[in-house]
C-alpha cells in the first residue's frame, strides 16, 4: 500500500468534518428537528423560498444636482449684484436632463474678469465657458458631478436603511444594485404586503420652515393676480391645507420665502405627540445651530407668519408670537396615530437627498415559498437516488466508490454554503441537482477510461492509474469552461439566479476534489486488498 495512504485518508476525513461543521455548526441536539434547526441557522434561504419582498428602486440623482445648481444660481446672482454687474437673465435651460447647466445672458464684455473671479472663488466645482451674444455657460466639472450623484445614492441607501431598521424588518438587504444606474436593491424577508414600507421609503421627508409672504389664496391664479401677475424673485408658491376652519380636503396656496429659515438637517429629534385637542401630531426639536438660526429668524419676525413645509407641501401655518428657540410641531390637517408615528420616524431618519422611483417589485407569499421548498427538495432527492442507484447497477463495486464521492460532493457543497453564508434559492436547489448530474460525469469519464484500459489488457493497478491520468486533463477542461459560464451568470444574474451560479460553482469545485482525489484513494484501498491478478469490479 502507498505510504501516503494514511495521510490521504486523514485529509478526507478532516475535510468531511470541516464541511459537516459548515452545514450544521455544533447542533444543539442530534434529533431530526435539532439538525434541521442547525442547518437553517447556517444556510440562509432566499426570498423565493421563505417569502418576502424584493424591490429595485432608482435614485433620481438629478434632484440632488438641481439642489446644488439652484444654490449656485443664488450665489451667482448675489455676487453679481454685490459687484454691481448688470445681467439680463440667469437660468437653467433644461433642469430635467442637464440639471447642472446654468446659462448667464447679457453680461457686458468688460465684466469678463469679475465673472471669472466669481467662478473660481465661489463656484470652484463648476466650469465656466463663454458663448455667443455675451452669454456664459456654467457646467459642473464631470468629476464633481459624478461624485455628487454617487453621494446621493450612498446617502439614500443610508436613509432607507435607517427607516427600514426603525420598522423592525429582520435581516433586510439594502445595497447598490450594480447592474443599473443609480439603482438600489432592497430585500425585505417576511414582508408580504409592501405598501406601507414602500410609502415610508419613498417619502423624501424634506422639512423646511419658511416665512409666509402672502396667502392663503384659493388658487395659483389668485395668488399671481394679487402680486400683479409676477411672483417676486425670492418667493415661491406652494400648496397646503385650507385656512383654519376650511373644509377638509380643500387646498390653499401660500406665497413663501424661497430661502428657508430651518432645513431638515437642522432637526435633532421628532416624536409623535398630541396637540391640545388630543389630535395626533409630530413634535420636532432642532439642533443647537439650527435652533440659534430659528431664534434669530423668529426674533426678527414677531407678528409675521411662518410655514412648516414638508416635501413642498405646507403642513402648518402659525403666527410668530415671540422668539422661539428649538422646537415646533406638525399636525398637517388630520393625522392618524399611525401616520404621526411614521412621519416622526421618517423625519428622524433624515431626508432623502433625491426622490426615488420604484422600478421592480416582486413579492413571494410564504405559502408559495414553502411549496417551492417541498418541490425542490423532492426533485433533488428523486434525482439523486436515481443517479446513485444507476451507478451501483452499472459499475457494481466501483459504483459504491462513485456514490461515496457524490455524497461527499454534496456535503462539501452545502458546507461551502454554510461558511460563505451563501443564500439558497429555488434555482440554487436546481443547481444542487445539476451538480449531482454533472458531477457524476467525472466519475463516468474515469470509469469508462479504466474499463477501456482493462479491455486493452492492462493490469487493474495500471488501468486505474492510466484511467485517472488521462481523464484528469479532460476533467480540468470541462470544469473550467462550466465555471466560466457560472461566473458570468454570477456577475450578470440577480437574486435567485445568482444563487444558482453560486451552488453550481461550489459544486463543481467540490467535484474536482471528490471525483478525482477521493475516488482515487478508494481505488487504491480496494486494489491494495486484492491479490495480484484478481479482477476489478467495475
Amino acid at each position: 500500500m502507498n505510504k501516503d495512504f494514511g495521510w490521504k485518508v486523514a485529509l478526507i476525513v478532516g475535510t468531511l468534518l470541516v464541511f459537516l461543521y459548515g452545514i450544521f455548526g455544533i447542533p444543539q441536539s442530534l434529533s431530526g428537528g435539532g439538525l434541521l434547526a442547525a442547518i437553517t441557522n447556517r444556510i440562509h434561504l432566499g426570498l423565493d423560498l421563505k417569502g418576502g419582498t424584493h424591490l429595485i428602486l432608482q435614485v433620481q440623482v438629478n434632484d440632488a444636482v438641481n439642489v446644488d445648481s439652484d444654490n449656485a444660481v443664488e450665489i451667482l446672482k448675489e455676487q453679481l449684484n454685490k459687484r454691481k454687474i448688470a445681467f439680463a437673465d440667469i437660468s437653467k435651460p433644461d433642469p430635467a436632463n442637464a440639471p447642472d447647466r446654468i446659462v448667464i445672458k447679457g453680461v457686458s464684455p468688460e465684466a469678463r474678469k469679475d465673472l471669472l473671479d466669481i467662478a473660481s472663488e465661489r463656484l470652484a466645482e463648476y466650469d465656466l465657458s463663454s458663448g455667443a451674444d455675451n452669454s456664459w455657460t456654467l457646467t459642473m466639472k464631470p468629476q464633481m458631478l459624478a461624485d455628487l450623484k454617487n453621494k446621493a445614492v450612498t446617502q439614500a441607501i443610508e436613509t432607507i436603511r435607517n427607516r427600514i431598521d426603525a420598522l423592525g424588518v429582520s435581516e433586510p438587504t439594502i445595497q447598490e444594485h450594480g447592474l443599473g444606474q443609480y439603482q438600489i436593491l432592497v430585500q425585505l424577508p417576511g414582508v408580504d404586503d409592501p405598501g406601507r414600507v414602500k410609502d415610508i421609503m419613498q417619502s423624501t421627508a424634506m422639512l423646511e420652515i419658511k416665512q409666509v409672504l402672502g396667502g392663503p389664496y384659493p388658487s395659483e391664479e389668485a395668488a399671481l393676480q394679487d402680486k400683479g401677475g409676477v411672483l417676486p424673485p425670492d418667493a415661491i408658491l406652494l400648496p397646503g391645507h385650507g385656512a383654519p376652519g376650511a373644509a377638509p380636503g380643500e387646498q390653499a396656496w401660500y406665497l413663501l420665502s424661497r430661502v428657508s429659515a430651518v432645513r431638515g438637517k437642522d432637526l435633532r429629534d421628532a416624536q409623535p405627540s398630541t396637540d391640545q385637542n388630543g389630535q395626533p401630531n409630530v413634535r420636532f426639536e432642532l439642533t443647537g445651530e439650527g435652533g440659534q438660526r430659528f431664534f434669530d429668524f423668529t426674533s426678527n419676525h414677531v407678528g409675521d407668519s411662518l410655514a412648516v413645509v414638508l416635501d413642498n407641501k405646507v403642513q402648518e401655518v402659525a403666527n410668530i408670537k415671540e422668539a422661539i428657540r428649538d422646537s415646533g410641531e406638525i399636525s398637517g390637517g388630520s393625522m392618524s396615530e399611525q401616520q404621526a408615528k411614521d412621519l416622526s420616524m421618517i423625519l428622524r431618519s433624515g431626508a432623502l437627498p433625491a426622490g426615488i422611483k420604484y422600478l421592480e417589485e416582486r413579492t413571494v407569499g410564504p405559502s408559495l415559498g414553502s411549496d417551492s421548498i417541498r418541490h425542490g427538495v423532492t426533485a433533488a432527492i428523486i434525482g439523486m437516488l436515481a443517479v446513485l442507484m444507476f451507478m451501483l447497477i452499472y459499475y457494481r463495486a466501483a459504483g459504491i466508490n462513485a456514490d461515496v464521492a457524490l455524497l461527499l460532493n454534496l456535503i462539501i457543497l452545502l458546507g461551502f454554503m454554510g461558511y460563505f453564508e451563501a443564500v439558497l434559492t429555488l434555482p440554487g436547489i436546481a443547481g444542487v441537482i445539476l451538480t449531482v448530474g454533472m458531477g457524476v460525469d467525472s466519475n463516468v469519464l474515469i470509469f469508462e477510461r479504466i474499463r477501456e484500459e482493462l479491455r486493452n489488457g492492462k493490469t487493474p493497478p495500471s488501468a486505474v492509474d492510466q484511467g485517472f491520468s488521462h481523464a484528469w486533463i479532460t476533467i480540468v477542461d470541462t470544469h473550467v469552461t462550466t465555471i466560466v459560464s457560472a461566473a458570468i451568470l454570477f456577475i450578470f444574474g440577480t437574486g435567485p439566479v445568482k444563487g444558482f451560479a453560486v451552488t453550481l460553482t461550489f459544486g463543481l469545485l467540490a467535484n474536482l476534489f471528490t471525483a478525482v482525489f477521493v475516488s482515487r484513494v478508494i481505488f487504491d484501498w480496494v486494489l491494495s486488498r486484492k491479490q495480484r491478478g484478481e479482477a476489478l469490479s467495475i
Partner: protein, 391 residues
C-alpha cells in the same frame, strides 16, 4: 453492465443527415421567432405585472375573464397553473399597465377586480398580512389580556397566518378551519373585522419597462461573454479552430433551445436564461471530451486520416457521452416532473438543451473540425491543423 461494447459507428459519414436535421430545427425556430410567436419574453424581460392567485374553489374561466374586462383589463392573460385541482391561476398584464410612477397599479387593479363583494369596513383575511391581523387583535383584545397582550397576540396571529399559508396553502374556505389552531375568543372575534374572499395572492412580480430593457441587455451580454470565454479558453488550450467549432456548436444549441421556446410559446424568464447558460457549459463539456480524445489520438495515429481519427474518438467516448447525458437527463427530468411550476421553464430548457447539447458535440463540432481540414487541404496548405504544442 455495459451498454456499448467497442462501438464503431461511422458518424462522419452521416454528417449530411445531421446537417439537415439541425437546419430543419434551427430554421423552424428562427421562423417562429421572426414571424410566429416571436421571442416569448417573460415578465422579467418585457416588463409587466404577474399576479399568481390561488382560489378556494375551482375558478370559472369565463367569470374571471369578465371580471378582468369589467375592471378595464382587456389585455390580461389568464393562465391555469400547475394541477387543475390546485385552483391556481396566473394573471398577466403587459407593460402598459406598469407605469413607473405607480408601479403597482396593475396589481391593485387585478386584486380590485377579483374582490367583488367586499363587506364595508372589513378586511380580507385571505390577503391580510401578519401585522394587520396582529394589530386587529391588539385593538380588539378578545382574550382580555391587558398587559402581556403583545406576546400572546403575536402567537395567535402567527397561528392564523401559518394555518393559512403553510397548512392550507394560502386560502381559508371558512373561519372554522382555524378551530383547533387559535383561541376560541380570537376565533369568534375574527368575523367582526374580517371577511373571507375566495382567493389569496401567492406571488406578485412587477417589472417596470426600464428594468425589462436592462435585463434583456444583460441576458444578451451574459450569453455573448460566456461564448467568448469558451472561445478564448479553448483557443488557448487547443487551437483556434477547436474554439470556433465549440462556439458554433454551442450557438447552434442555444438557437435551437430558444427556438423551441418560441415554437412552444413558453415564456423565457431569467431562470430560463440561467438554464441556457448552464447548457452552454454542459454542451461544451461534451464537446471538449471528444476534442480531448481527438488530440490524444492524433499523437498516436499520425498516419491516419483525420476523419478516421475523429470517428474513432467519438466512438471511444460514446459510452461516456451517452451515460453522462442519460444521468444528467435523469436529474433534469426529476426537476421537470417534481420541481413545481416555478422551475418548469428552467427545467424545460435543460431537458431540451441536454438532448441537443449531446447530439451537437457528435454531429456538429466534430464535422466542423474535419470540414476545416478538408478546406485547408483543398487550399494546398499544411494538412494537419492540429495541436502539436506541448501542454
Amino acid at each position: 453492465m455495459e451498454f456499448f461494447h467497442n462501438p464503431n459507428y461511422d458518424f462522419l459519414g452521416k454528417k449530411w443527415y445531421f446537417l439537415a436535421f439541425s437546419l430543419v430545427f434551427s430554421v423552424a425556430g428562427v421562423f417562429s421567432m421572426l414571424f410566429w410567436h416571436h421571442i416569448p419574453y417573460g415578465v422579467d424581460f418585457r416588463g409587466g405585472t404577474l399576479v399568481y392567485v390561488k382560489f378556494s374553489h375551482t375558478p370559472n374561466d369565463n367569470a374571471l375573464r369578465s371580471a378582468m374586462d369589467h375592471a378595464g383589463l382587456h389585455n390580461a392573460k389568464i393562465q391555469r397553473y400547475d394541477l387543475p385541482s390546485d385552483n391556481e391561476v396566473l394573471i398577466d398584464l403587459d407593460v402598459q399597465e406598469t407605469s413607473e410612477q405607480a408601479l403597482d397599479r396593475g396589481k391593485t387593479r387585478i386584486i380590485g377586480a377579483l374582490e367583488t363583494d367586499t363587506p364595508s369596513g372589513k378586511q380580507d383575511l385571505n390577503n391580510a398580512s401578519f401585522l394587520t391581523i396582529k394589530n386587529y387583535l391588539m385593538d380588539k383584545d378578545p382574550m382580555h389580556l391587558g398587559s402581556d397582550a403583545d406576546q400572546k397576540y403575536t402567537q395567535q396571529a402567527t397561528g392564523i397566518v401559518n394555518t393559512r399559508d403553510k397548512v392550507l396553502g394560502g386560502v381559508f374556505n371558512s373561519f372554522d378551519q382555524l378551530k383547533s389552531q387559535v383561541d376560541p375568543g380570537v376565533l369568534s372575534s375574527l368575523p367582526d373585522g374580517f371577511f373571507l374572499s375566495d382567493f389569496g395572492v401567492r406571488n406578485v412580480e412587477i417589472v417596470g419597462p426600464q428594468v425589462g430593457a436592462q435585463l434583456r441587455k444583460q441576458a444578451l451580454l451574459a450569453t455573448i461573454y460566456s461564448l467568448a470565454g469558451m472561445l478564448v479558453y479553448l483557443g488557448f488550450r487547443f487551437e483556434w479552430i477547436y474554439g470556433i467549432a465549440a462556439v458554433v456548436t454551442v450557438f447552434h444549441d442555444t438557437l435551437i433551445t430558444v427556438g423551441a421556446f418560441s415554437l412552444l410559446n413558453k415564456d423565457i424568464s431569467l431562470t430560463v436564461i440561467a438554464a441556457i447558460l448552464t447548457l452552454i457549459g454542459y454542451s461544451n463539456n461534451d464537446t471538449i471530451v471528444v476534442f480531448d480524445r481527438i488530440r490524444e489520438n492524433i499523437k498516436l495515429m499520425r498516419r491516419e486520416k483525420l476523419a478516421d481519427i475523429v470517428n474513432r474518438s467519438i466512438n471511444q467516448t460514446l459510452s461516456r457521452t451517452i451515460l453522462t447525458a442519460g444521468l444528467t437527463f435523469l436529474t433534469v427530468l426529476a426537476l421537470y416532473l417534481f420541481g413545481g411550476e416555478v422551475l418548469r421553464g428552467f427545467s424545460l430548457a435543460l431537458v431540451i438543451g441536454i438532448l441537443i447539447g449531446t447530439y451537437s458535440s457528435i454531429a456538429i463540432a466534430a464535422p466542423i473540425l474535419v470540414a476545416y481540414q478538408d478546406w485547408r487541404i483543398s487550399k494546398g496548405k499544411r494538412a494537419v491543423a492540429m495541436p502539436v504544442r506541448a501542454r
